[in-house]
């Protein structure tokens, strides 16, 4: 070990003395910053991860869509299902509808699903909170929780659905009566973006409401585990007929995912300021240490130390504080994440706010998903910033002339 590293360690952890105050405080600052960064990026990553999972679980990894309507549904299904890497495919029809229930209106997005094959792609029953997907027939619908709220509808309520076909018929002076449906249940996927306004009905109902005959708007495709959405879409595009294309879900939801990521990035940089402030405290402690140790720095020169090595001695102290603080911070952060349920429950019950929490955060439990890339970024940033904090003290120390340093009594 070069002398400057040895001395740096000894000045931070002197022989035979307790853990020195300055070292502890400086490290704690860095550790807190790192802990908060780990917790926040993991929880936000958790939200993102859950949302992604929900999207995939409700509509598969790949969507196959035609330029217009898809008429040969059976042929297309056979082609898609026969493509390697595809686990399942189901046709859908989707579009906006108007709903009236006891004079309360809603205009949700309707999605017609093929009850017999939807299970091979999506696990919708997982999200159905009241009623059952099995009860869905051509005379019933399942509403999203928010739509049900809006309509004041509950299981068994009767609602009327107006299709956009209505306007077309009106132009031709025909009367097109709304169809009556029974509410078979309601579902909650778990994210506002997805739950806002959606209603499920059977494929046939949707085809009727939109006057599509046997045609559909597209297919939702589920891939086999281990096949990513890009590969899957690429393979499908090689076999799909002209005018039909496969789109990976990440592309369909691109803007949404981008916003999610942006939120996380902004949070990361805001919280990085904790580490920066901690680094300032490291810097001021080291500056004090340079002043306090002026004569020892002079002595090092007299012993033959080069200016570069004297500077490295102080940089090394900042680096060691940064590294050790980061390690402690990772420990703190992951401990807090491991006990996150208890912590949230504790806070909520202390504030008597369990219900509010449930209402505003779309997930019943605080999710956590730590990305290796976030972790590496946090660790590297924390260590680099702390080490940079050592530069000014190091420069001050290296600038001291041994003769003058030794004279300072």
């Amino acid at each position: 070990m070069p002398w400057f590293l040895y001395l740096a360690l000894k000045q931070l952890f002197p022989t035979g003395r307790k853990f020195p105050f300055f070292t502890a405080i400086s490290m704690l600052g860095v550790a807190l910053g790192v802990a908060v960064l780990v917790i926040v990026t993991s929880v936000m990553g958790g939200f993102g991860y859950e949302i992604r999972r929900m999207i995939v679980q409700t509509e598969g990894e790949v969507q196959v869509k035609g330029r217009g309507l898809i008429e040969d549904v059976g042929g297309l299904l056979a082609t898609v299902r026969g493509t390697p890497g595809v686990a399942g495919a189901t046709p859908y029809v989707e579009g906006p509808v108007g709903i009236l229930a006891a004079n309360r209106p809603a205009f949700p997005l309707m999605k017609g699903i093929d009850v017999s094959s939807v299970g091979t792609v999506a696990n919708l029953s997982r999200f159905v909170r009241r009623g059952s997907l099995d009860d869905l027939d051509d005379d019933s619908v399942i509403l999203s929780w928010e739509t049900a709220q809006q309509l004041g509808a509950s299981v068994g309520s009767r609602i009327a659905i107006y299709s956009p076909l209505l306007f077309e018929k009106l132009n031709q002076d025909e009367v097109f009566l709304p169809r009556q449906f029974r509410v078979a249940g309601w579902f909650e996927i778990g994210h506002q973006h997805l739950d806002n306004s959606l209603v499920f009905c059977t494929l046939r109902t949707a085809q009727d409401l939109y006057g599509l005959g046997q045609s559909v708007h597209g297919l939702n495709v589920r891939l086999q585990p281990g096949v990513d959405e890009i590969t899957g879409a690429t393979r499908l595009n090689q076999v799909l007929p002209n005018g039909v294309a496969a789109l990976p879900w990440t592309q369909k939801w691109e803007s949404f995912l981008w916003v999610l990521n942006l939120e996380k990035t902004i949070n990361f940089f805001l919280l990085l300021f904790i580490v920066i402030i901690a680094a300032f405290s490291v810097m001021s402690s080291l500056l004090i240490s340079v002043v306090r140790k002026t004569r020892e720095i002079g002595l090092l020169g007299a012993l033959g130390a080069s200016r570069r090595d004297v500077a490295l001695c102080f940089c090394a102290q900042a680096f060691i504080i940064g590294t050790a603080g980061t390690a402690v911070g990772l420990g703190l952060g992951f401990t807090a994440l491991a006990f996150r349920k208890e912590i949230v429950r504790g806070i909520a019950s202390a504030l008597q706010r369990q219900d509010t929490l449930r209402q505003f955060y779309q997930f019943t439990e605080l999710p956590s998903h730590t990305l290796m890339s976030d972790l590496i970024l946090t660790v590297v940033m924390a260590i680099v910033i702390s080490t940079l904090a050592g530069l000014l003290p190091a420069w001050r120390a290296a600038r001291l002339k041994p003769v003058e340093a030794l004279r300072s009594e």
């Binding site: 002398w3 000894k10 002197p14 022989t15 002595l299 007299a302 012993l303 033959g304 080069s306 041994p402």
Partner: protein, 217 residues
């Protein structure tokens, strides 16, 4: 001439503070032979420390030349060529006595078993064999200065520069430290330049010089 440990010729040094110029050294010549001990006395403020700083290469003269052996002083050679002892001991408070002595060795390379044994040996020679694990704060002034002496000798330097090493010590302890410097220097063939106020200490050196009006006599 080149076998001299230290050759100083025509050294001058003037300090400028504000509009005042203090010509501290006005032409100092000195040749120190290997193993020789030279005492330098002089009034306070006469420039003894200034002179030693020029000898050690920590400061540069305004004019004149210094040579360590055949070459001018170079920072890279200092650790191996020079040992220094100061009035204040300048031990590193975080390190115990042994590690303070080893610090000199570390400047050259990370110490191994040989260096450790030598450091222990030196501590034993200065009478601190039992105290090697003690921190400076646990040692008396005289003991600290003896650690500093051991540190100065650690790398078997050719030249030892001691600037009033007894200035902060009581008479008895001071005598012991000077005795150590002289004997250890003699044993190891290290030349010694000793700055002191004490006439008795100066008398023990091979040569005793006086710094007055910026010249050595």
């Amino acid at each position: 001439m080149n076998d001299a440990v230290l050759t100083a010729t025509g050294l001058t040094k003037t300090y400028v503070s504000g509009d005042r110029r203090i010509a501290v050294l006005r032409g100092v010549d000195l040749v120190v032979a290997p193993g020789e001990s030279v005492a330098i006395r002089g009034e306070s403020g006469s420039g003894k420390s200034t002179l030693l700083n020029l000898f050690s290469g920590l400061d540069a003269p305004d004019s004149g030349a210094i040579q360590w052996g055949a070459e001018p002083p170079a920072a890279a050679r200092r650790a191996a060529y020079l040992g220094m002892v100061f009035q204040s001991f300048y031990l590193i408070p975080e390190l115990d006595a042994l590690q303070n002595v080893l610090m000199a060795a570390r400047m050259i390379r990370p110490p191994g078993g040989g260096e450790r044994a030598r450091a222990r040996d030196l501590l034993a020679r200065v009478g601190l064999g039992e105290r090697s694990g003690h921190l400076p704060a646990q040692l008396s002034g005289g003991e600290r200065q003896r650690v500093a002496v051991a540190r100065a000798l650690m790398n078997s330097p050719r030249l030892l520069l001691a600037d009033e090493p007894t200035g902060n010590l009581d008479e008895h302890t001071g005598d012991a430290v000077v005795e150590l410097l002289l004997t250890l220097g003699r044993e190891t063939g290290t030349a010694l330049v000793l700055v002191t106020h004490n006439a008795a200490h100066a008398a023990k050196a091979n040569r005793s010089l006086f710094l007055h009006d910026g010249v050595l006599r």
